[in-house]
Symmetry: C2
Subunit: 318 residues, 2 copies
């Protein structure tokens, strides 16, 4: 069969499902988590333009960059130059990642008002990524979160490897619960549950969310952060919505995992997520057309097609 | 962050979700729906080897080929040569598509025991694909299904464009219900609800299934057939499982939609589906490792990476 020449429909039919939230807040991670994992180093001006385009498409939160040491993440070594180029946007809309007190000082000096710290629920990844034990990393975050709270900043805590670890395999739910509780006790406003290796499936998602509720962590404090390594990200998101989650991380154009790179750990594409949410009649405030244009524009700069299926489908129709 | 050098885990952690079936039958469509939409024409020997590898991986049903006129689908013009090369397999495991009585005669002469007819729920696609109205196409199927039933064959009815049509846009649910009822009344054993343009979202899936139940169509007679054009296929499948569906169509390696072709209408990849089902603790009888090997083997022949994220992730780990 062929449908070549058929006109574009452009939008899914809107059919609500039972028991879902009426509004979801997408936490856009493309400029930080996405570009950090791209091989190419993108010029600062291109990053600034990309972030402006994302904000103009209606994304309420765009994680802008990371104040880690340039030696570790050369892709984001220009944070000091980039952040002032976003001065026309509300800094409460532009979280930045800070690894430690030195990073927080740099972010504060530039007027950042919202930060994230990046933790691990497994010892193996804490060691590999932070060169610390899980408890040592929590101790490192403690003064960061305290100072940020004193400055009235919004603080997000990332938890990586919540659904499996490449060295350790399955991750016990109790281990995730413990680190969640610890980060909330430090003073984090919200947590983001990361499936860093993309191995989780929908039952696992619902089971973890239920266990966190039982341990006194309300769903309103939780976001989900799925990688699409095994194609599970959107199904897992649907399962999380059914559990009441209203904050979902995604990366414009699926940035962050080249489909043919060695470790294909791409993020959930924001456009694929928006297609589903709008199809479900869930409000996002996002203009899918403008968002797709922003991702196509960056893909053109990177010189390769976007891994987002929605971006490819919509751009083929023009 | 990097996880290069980490050992492979290879399997998702098994965590059941509430209200799902304990077993799902995957209807593999790669050799027919997949190869029919590939640009390359694959040699008959390669097709036969591919089907044997899929059966050996535990797939219970492998749609083998199509007895349409070679002029319309040159990719499957070798049905007469291919089918006898599968003589060591159970023909009840190998459905073939037949468009009309002439096609059925050809299939019967070769010993086929299971067929499918391919209908449309929209007038535009019936006209484009079959050069008939919907009712004229049902009239064309009537003697085919009757004869097949007389021969004690299993008959599947495909319905395309159930979730949207590229010319007509949204497709009213009542229109889908009417064609479903008509195909069951003709004598079809099972129906496959196709989202041919991949535009559907999970609420739409559940709403359609509920409407079909209300119209007296039991879920046990229904399979779902999702295309991943907008990345929705696996989320839609999860929604269908929650409604009790136990027959799911998929294409090994995501065959059938080159990610960079003009109309990127790829099928749901069987491997991504199996990853989710096994993660949910749902039995399929399939060996994911052997299935992935079969898809990699064919991708090597086609000279391009598989669109299945699971195939790419597992093969990168070796």
């Amino acid at each position: 069969m062929t449908t070549d020449g058929a006109p574009a429909t452009g939008l899914p039919m809107e059919v609500a499902a039972e028991g879902l939230p009426t509004r979801v807040r997408i936490h856009e991670v493309g400029p930080r988590d996405g570009l950090q994992n791209e091989q190419a180093v993108v010029p600062t001006e291109v990053k600034a333009e990309f972030i402006h385009r994302l904000a103009a498409a209606g994304l309420p939160v765009v994680e802008a960059t990371s104040f880690v040491h340039p030696k570790w993440v050369p892709q984001l070594a220009d944070a000091e130059q980039l952040f002032p180029m976003l001065g026309d946007l509300d800094p409460r809309q532009l979280p930045v990642l800070v690894p430690n007190e030195r990073g927080l000082e740099r972010a504060l000096a530039l007027g950042a008002r919202r930060i994230a710290v990046f933790g691990s629920v497994t010892e193996s990844f804490a060691k590999a990524n932070l060169n610390r034990t899980v408890d040592e990393s929590l101790a490192m975050f403690e003064p960061v979160v305290r100072r940020a709270r004193d400055e009235n900043m919004h603080v997000r805590g990332y938890l990586s490897m919540c659904f499996g670890d490449p060295w350790e395999g399955p991750v016990p739910i109790a281990q995730v619960v413990r680190v969640c509780r610890a980060l909330l006790d430090l003073g984090c406003d919200e947590l983001s549950l990361g499936d860093t290796i993309g191995a989780g499936t929908p039952g696992h998602v619902q089971h973890l969310l239920a266990a966190l509720n039982e341990a006194g962590v309300p769903t309103t404090r939780l976001g989900v952060h799925f990688h699409d390594t095994y194609g599970q990200a959107l199904a897992n998101t649907f399962a999380a919505l059914q559990h009441g989650v209203t904050t979902v991380d995604a990366s414009a154009g699926g940035l962050g995992g080249c489909p043919y790179a060695k470790s294909a750990t791409g993020n959930l594409a924001t456009e694929d997520l928006v297609w589903m949410l709008h199809g479900l009649g869930i409000e996002t405030g996002i203009d899918l057309g403008r968002l797709t244009e922003a991702s196509e524009w960056l893909a053109g700069f990177l010189g390769r097609p976007s891994p987002s299926r929605t971006v490819r489908a919509l751009s083929h129709k023009e």
